[in-house]
């Protein structure tokens, strides 16, 4: 069969079936907007703002850990409130919201060649409910008793008891309500992301021609839609336990010499529900990062992603498998020990597709034409960090090795590497990569390089040594590291060092923020396709893309997303919407 050019016989690009909504005033254009791109910016800005709060909280915690006894205002109570809010904000309100609400909203319609999300109104509601959830969360800082200090895992019974900050005050109630709101809002957005990928693809954009970014976000959203209900169920039940005195999770308890009313409830049930959500959540954050980083590497190495099919299968496989590994967070929870055999096996099996992804990233570099742009630097840093964090995951997944290490600083170091720093590095890389599309201007290069080196090396220096504190036995979630016989003097010094690095890394983020704001006005003009990339978002008629994205006609897609350096082609990239056939040995479909 021969290639078909868009001459005769092919209908013109169809008009989107959703009648495009047209904003009328400033308010509907920039505030109550139904344009996915505006919603994306709103999501990102809100997530960044609340993320800054979490960053400041991490400084406060590091102040306490690095210089114990120096800062009186950080009481144990305050410390636990800080870690809880820090952890919850980072995982849910920052990363989940940013990857799916931010990047998902911006990139999905553009990359699949759609004018907008399929249900724009619901999409707008999604953002406003998210904002409400954030506000409810923030309000707990000002509520009597302060925010909850139960740890981001919110384990009952302590989460709703008086020994925990906020347990018998407003803190936990506001936290649970905020989570419930978040889940409702997210479900609205998530429906959009999924259905837009299913139904919004332009002509010729088959699933196997999608950029991996879309595959990552799509799979992560499907997972989130199925995993968040578990958190919803757990939150609702805990809220009833706390407010109406039911005993879903609350067993008979004698608290400080007093018998509580509850009876028979099962704390382990909560843990199962929580981690049934919690583990997929790790991949909900990781899969979009995987997808984005694949595209960054491919674009900036001017080479197609190595083993595209394997990458797609791995994303889908990881997504499916991650629903049967949740109890690896519960090896020492006192659940039936024989579960350990099953969950250790499934957990280590997941390592295989994950490893394949890593191989394919580095093999993409092999014989590439590597432009060491800032997005590429962040992508390289991601690989280092992710490999490091992924490998320590093999310690913690292997049930018996987890026994001494669980609930120590080793765990803290591990998950910061793998789901904290690694995805954040991708977020940065992605911002440097797509900022020119969003604003039409490049971010400043010098500031960018400074930001990159400090963040990457600083974060590595924070979290790499921390593993060894955990190996020594230093437990996590310790507001005071005094009177610990296992800790040598030098271990305390190491802690101070880690804290200082944390402040430096935090400072670099301020530089980044400055760059973000400054470059809107003063950045170098970018043009429509500064990275000479193939995917559709770079082929829009205007930059930044106008409402409706693609002008009069939707693009038609003739090729996959990775036609870089195709032999025989003049340029080293062929946009997806460029007709024609290139390359020596290519059989047409």
């Amino acid at each position: 069969m021969v290639d078909i050019t868009p001459a005769d016989g092919i209908p013109p690009a169809e008009v989107a079936e959703v009648e495009l909504y047209h904003p009328h005033g400033w308010w509907t254009k920039y505030v109550f907007s139904q344009d996915a791109k505006v919603i994306a910016v709103q999501y990102s800005a809100t997530a960044t703002a609340i993320g800054l709060v979490a960053l400041v909280l991490s400084w406060l915690m590091r102040l306490q850990l690095g210089f114990p006894g120096t800062f009186d205002f950080i009481t144990p109570e305050a410390y636990y409130q800080f870690i809880t809010m820090h952890g919850m904000i980072m995982v849910i309100y920052l990363l989940t919201a940013l990857f799916l609400g931010g990047f998902g909203n911006y990139l999905i319609p553009l990359m699949v060649g759609a004018r907008d999300m399929v249900f724009p109104y619901v999409n707008m509601l999604s953002y406003w409910i998210y904002l409400l959830a954030v506000l409810v969360l923030v309000s707990s800082f000002f509520a009597p008793g302060g925010p909850t200090g139960a740890g981001w895992t919110l384990y009952p019974p302590q989460a709703i008891m008086s020994g925990t900050p906020g347990g018998q005050d407003w803190g936990i109630i506001l936290m649970l309500s905020s989570l419930i709101l978040f889940i409702i809002g997210f479900t609205m957005g998530g429906l959009n992301y999924v259905v837009t990928v299913l139904q919004g693809r332009t002509r010729g954009m088959t699933m196997m021609r999608l950029p991996l970014t879309v595959w990552g976000i799509f799979t992560a959203t499907v997972m989130a839609l199925l995993a968040f209900p578990a958190l919803f169920v757990a939150s609702v039940m805990m809220l009833l336990d706390r407010v109406l005195g039911t005993s879903f999770f609350m067993p008979a308890i004698s608290e400080m010499g007093e018998q509580l009313q509850h009876n028979g409830g099962s704390p382990i049930l909560f843990q199962h529900l929580f981690w049934f959500f919690g583990h997929p959540e790790v991949y909900i954050v990781a899969l979009p990062a995987f997808g984005i980083v694949s595209d960054l590497i491919s674009t900036h190495a001017r080479k197609n992603i190595f083993g595209y099919r394997m990458m797609v299968w791995a994303i889908v496989g990881i997504g499916a498998l991650s629903f049967v590994v949740w109890a690896h967070h519960m090896y020492v929870s006192g659940m039936h020990p024989y579960f350990g055999f099953f969950f250790a096996t499934t957990t280590l099996i997941i390592a295989i597709p994950t490893a394949i992804k890593v191989y394919n990233w580095v093999l993409t570099l092999w014989r590439g034409d590597i432009h060491l742009t800032i997005p590429m630097l962040f992508a390289l840093a991601f690989i280092v960090t992710f490999v490091n964090g992924g490998l320590t995951g093999l310690f913690l997944g292997n049930v018996v090795v987890d026994v001494p290490l669980s609930d120590t600083m080793f765990v803290v170091a591990h998950f910061h590497m793998v789901m904290g720093v690694a995805p954040i590095l991708v977020v940065f890389g992605a911002i440097y990569h797509w900022y020119p599309k969003v604003t039409g201007r490049m971010l400043d290069e010098t500031l960018g390089r400074f930001h990159f080196w400090v963040t990457f090396l600083g974060a590595y220096l924070i979290f790499f040594p921390m593993h060894y504190l955990g190996l020594m036995g230093v437990p996590r979630r310790y507001a005071e590291l005094t009177d610990m016989t296992i800790m040598t003097e030098s271990a305390h010094h190491l802690n101070s060092f880690i804290s200082i690095m944390a402040f430096i890394v935090g400072f670099a983020q301020m530089v980044f923020l400055f760059n973000l704001i400054w470059s809107i006005r003063h950045g170098r003009e970018a043009g429509g396709n500064p990275w000479r990339a193939t995917t559709l978002e770079w082929q829009t008629p205007q930059t930044p893309p106008a409402h409706g994205n693609f002008g009069k006609d939707l693009p038609i897609v003739y090729r996959w997303a990775y036609d870089y350096s195709v032999p025989g082609a003049k340029e080293d990239f062929i946009p997806q919407n460029m007709p024609g056939s290139f390359g020596p040995s290519r059989e047409p479909a």
Binding site: P157, Q158, M161, A351, V384, F464
Partner: protein, 294 residues
């Protein structure tokens, strides 16, 4: 160039840090050297992979960095290479998993000659109970917890009468004898963790969890709580002393049984005991309050 160099330095630095830094695990004091060995295997395998991947990246960045006129190769996939990599990874993962599961099966199967020791966690202190002469622990229930019966031993159970109760004080264990730690909590989740023993397990109100180990050297070890249990969590320390058999018997002889503790107090000595075991929990709570009011 600089990038490739930094990548190499990261590998070299991490390996040197691993080998030379003074921060390492505490000298082991139990039979779970198996676990340490598994960790060593894991360090080897993961270390090799880490070094290989990052050094390969460094080489690529050095060798294939952009220069004028360069063009990337065109290679969508390579089935053979991918299959090989998958197989090698699978072998590596199996090499980690198999010894791990092997040790885990030891960890969960308690030897039949292990003596039972009960640990009871409560905000924020540790108490212990040892079976008396009959070798059996009496049953317990959180609903039976009172000031005089802090562990909630069911008074009607005859097996419980001779149980030795150690409230908010140090636990002693004889060296070289396997023990099965039965873990219980009367309020929230806690986790009994002695770093030198390598083992730990959560304690869940409403159920009894366990782990076992054999202390292999005498000494004094700090008990840490490893599950966030409220404000007093970081101060919830305890002490386990591993004694020679002789010292252990001597200590055991001084302890009170449940029956003695719950007998109506008339003698001066009984008062003394209550005074001496003044619970740690309230003390920590008081300390927190002073900290809070600062």
């Amino acid at each position: 160039m600089a990038v490739a160099l930094v990548l190499v330095l990261i590998v070299v630095g991490s390996v040197l840090f691993h080998l030379l830094s003074p921060w390492w695990w505490t000298p082991i004091a139990s039979n779970w050297a198996y676990i340490d060995n598994t960790i060593i295997i894991t360090f080897w395998i993961t270390g090799v992979v880490f070094a290989a991947v990052v050094l390969f990246m460094a080489y690529c960045v050095f060798r294939f960095r952009h220069r004028e006129g360069n063009r990337a190769a065109y290679e969508p996939e390579n089935k053979r290479l991918e299959s090989w990599l998958t197989i090698v990874t699978a072998v590596g993962v199996t090499a980690l998993l198999v010894p791990g599961l092997f040790v885990w099966s030891r960890f969960v199967n308690v030897p039949s000659d292990a003596t039972e020791v009960e640990v009871v966690g409560q905000q924020w202190q540790w108490s212990f109970r040892l079976p008396g002469r009959d070798g059996k622990l009496g049953t317990s229930d959180t609903r039976d917890v009172t000031a005089d019966n802090p562990l909630g031993v069911i008074p009607k159970d005859p097996n419980g009468q001779d149980d030795v109760v150690v409230e908010a004080a140090d636990l002693h264990l004889p060296v070289g004898k396997p023990v099965k730690m039965l873990l219980r909590s009367i309020d929230v989740l806690h986790d009994f963790y002695v770093p030198e023993f390598r083992a730990k397990m959560d304690m869940i109100p409403g159920s009894v969890t366990y782990f076992w180990f054999t202390p292999t050297r005498t000494g004094t070890f700090q008990v840490l709580c490893a599950e966030l249990c409220g404000q007093g969590h970081p101060m919830m320390h305890g002490v386990v002393m591993v004694d020679t058999q002789q010292d252990y018997m001597a200590w055991l002889g001084q302890q009170q049984t449940f029956a003695q503790l719950s007998a109506p107090k008339q003698t001066g000595s009984a008062d003394e005991t209550t005074g001496q075991t003044a619970a740690l929990g309230p003390e920590i709570a008081a300390r927190l309050e002073t900290v809070g009011s600062r």
